[in-house]
């Protein structure tokens, strides 16, 4: 089981979610985060003082999937979140040792 983490541009959420649903992925958890990377925030101005905003709003999707799905999921995210412009984000894959569904107590793939 793996935890696939995708950091994407906020307005790409619907596309990515659609693609994942098509793969049969039924769940994910999304957080609003601030990203720091090659894409720089625009220069802002406040009371006559300019400043570079280092952080750009992103959405972080955490999706736990069975090992067999990892590749497809990553691929679906990459192809649906890409705009080709700097700041499109990353997909990371982490090991996940177990999952439990709180409602039923089911564990393993059945919990997803």
């Amino acid at each position: 089981m793996k935890l696939v983490r995708a950091i994407i541009k906020p307005f790409k959420l619907e596309d990515v979610r659609g693609a994942l649903t098509d793969l049969g992925i039924a769940g994910m958890t999304v957080a609003e985060v601030k990203g720091y990377g090659r894409q720089k925030g625009q220069t802002e101005i406040y009371r006559g003082a300019e400043y570079a905003v280092a952080f750009v709003p992103k959405l972080q999707l955490d999706i736990v999937v069975g090992d067999d799905m990892v590749e497809k999921v990553v691929e679906a995210i990459v192809s649906n979140a890409a705009t080709g412009k700097i700041g499109d984000g990353k997909v990371f894959v982490l090991d996940c040792h177990g999952a439990t569904r709180i409602r039923t107590g089911e564990v393993g793939d059945a919990a997803l």
């Binding site: 601030k34 625009q42 300019e50």
Partner: protein, 439 residues
């Protein structure tokens, strides 16, 4: 401010009447003249104070529009809409002073366009013959033009460049609004035709609404609003701000309608304003309740945004003739206005015309309805003439604002790049976000 100001009473002027010996007997004529002078002074003060106090209340509507629109746009465009609102008000006022007032009130005329000069400047002193201070009248007229401009900003929000929008405000307040205004309030051809629009359902609200409609069509909907034949709601940033804005507009409307009586200096005028206040209140209340009920029946839930629009719809509907003495009539007029709101919101969505705050339903549709209602409920005015006014002003405004939008578009385009729109105008146009703390 000075200490111990001398006590100058009303009727100081009346003293001069008695040039002759103080102990002479007075005739009825002399006496009438003396009393008339005193009451004239008093009426002058009342009328002037009406313009000022009601004008100020109307001015506060600018805050209402700002809050309403800030609540209905998405967070990434909130700072921009705030700036648009405070600057459009500033610019409209200045342009009306520089140019607009001279077009709108050209003096005696009954045609289509006339002109009494730039930079309005009445005599400095109190001209008793007029019955009110001319500058107070200017102040009251000026706050109206800003209202028309505010209507536009809400509809085309989130997808128009700041300076282009302000350019439109310049044209609207300096030229377009004053021309149609002069047809009726300036004593032009429409006034001659026995058209009636007490406080501007057509002259102010519909003009703003037509301008907004043309703008919305030319600029097009926001990215992502209408995709694959589906309407995607793009919910606004803050219902508390939208509600606050609505309350402020409701409050300000009493200045709008009440002040349009233009005189307070006699019991008849005071009584008329009392009727206007009651009409204005109850029409808005009926609009609110009607919009809620329709929403409940249509969707099984009450849509707060439609209830808020219902209030505005009720207000606009009664603005053309808020003088009924039987309050059932304004209840009815407002309720119909409230019912029109959800249906015209839906109609616009069907036509893929994107109106961010619902200004077209509230100001244009209800403005038309209110103007027609005058023809229905008042014996003195006919539906025909009312229609004539609606159509002629609508046609002119559509053409004139169409040209205005077109010309402005030549300067680099009205609309920001897709990327800028996506990022939000607060970033691309202003560089300051609405809640800029951690960004």
């Amino acid at each position: 401010m000075k200490l111990l100001r001398k006590y100058t009473a009303l009727g100081a002027l009346s003293a001069i009447i008695f040039a002759s010996s103080a102990s002479a007997q007075v005739t009825a004529e002399e006496m009438e003249a003396a009393i008339a002078a005193a009451t004239g002074d008093s009426a002058f003060v009342f009328n002037t104070f009406l313009f000022l106090s009601q004008g100020l209340i109307v001015m506060f509507m600018a805050a209402g529009f700002a809050m309403l629109e800030a609540g209905f746009v998405r967070t990434k465009n909130v700072s921009t809409i705030l700036l648009k609102n405070i600057s459009l008000f500033s610019i409209a006022g200045i342009m009306y002073y520089l140019v607009g007032y001279g077009i709108m009130y050209p003096g005696d005329f009954n045609g289509f366009v006339s002109w009494s000069g730039f930079l309005y400047q009445p005599d400095g002193g109190a001209d008793l013959a007029t019955g009110y201070s001319k500058m107070s009248d200017w102040f009251f007229q000026m706050v109206f033009v800003a209202t028309a401009a505010s209507v536009v900003s809400g509809t085309v929000a989130e997808r128009i460049k700041l300076w282009h929008f302000l350019g439109f405000v310049v044209l609207l307040s300096a030229i377009i609004y004053p021309i149609t205004g002069s047809w009726q309030w300036g004593g032009g051809w429409l006034a001659e035709s026995n058209f009636y629009d007490f406080a501007g359902s057509t002259l102010v609200h519909s003009v703003g609404g037509w301008a907004a409609l043309v703008g919305a069509i030319i600029i097009g909907p926001r990215l992502g609003k209408y995709t694959d034949g589906k309407v995607t709601p793009l919910p606004g940033s803050s219902m508390p701000l939208a509600t606050l804005g609505t309350f402020i507009l409701w409050f300000g409307w009493f200045g709008f309608n009440g002040g349009s009586q233009l005189a307070l200096g006699s019991p008849g005028d005071a009584n008329a304003i009392a009727n206007i206040y009651a009409n204005t209140f109850i029409s808005a209340a009926a609009g609110c309740v009607a919009a809620m009920l329709v929403s409940q029946f249509m969707y099984g839930k009450v849509d707060l945004t439609l209830a808020l629009n219902g209030v505005i719809g009720g207000l606009v509907s009664i603005t053309a003739g808020p003088e009924y003495t039987n309050l059932l009539i304004p209840v009815l007029i407002g309720a119909i206005g409230g019912v029109l709101i959800p249906f015209s919101v839906r109609l616009l969505d069907t036509l893929k015309i994107d109106d961010v705050v619902g200004a077209i339903p509230a100001h244009l549709v209800c403005g038309i309805w209110g103007t027609l209602a005058v023809g229905i409920f008042y014996a003195d005015f006919g539906i025909g003439t009312q229609l004539l006014g609606i159509i002629s002003i609508g046609a002119f405004t559509v053409v004139a604002t169409g040209i205005a939008w077109y010309v402005l578009n030549l300067f680099g385009g009205l609309r920001p790049s897709e990327e800028d729109e996506m990022a939000g105008l607060d970033k691309s146009e202003l560089g300051i976000e609405a809640y800029p703390e951690f960004s």
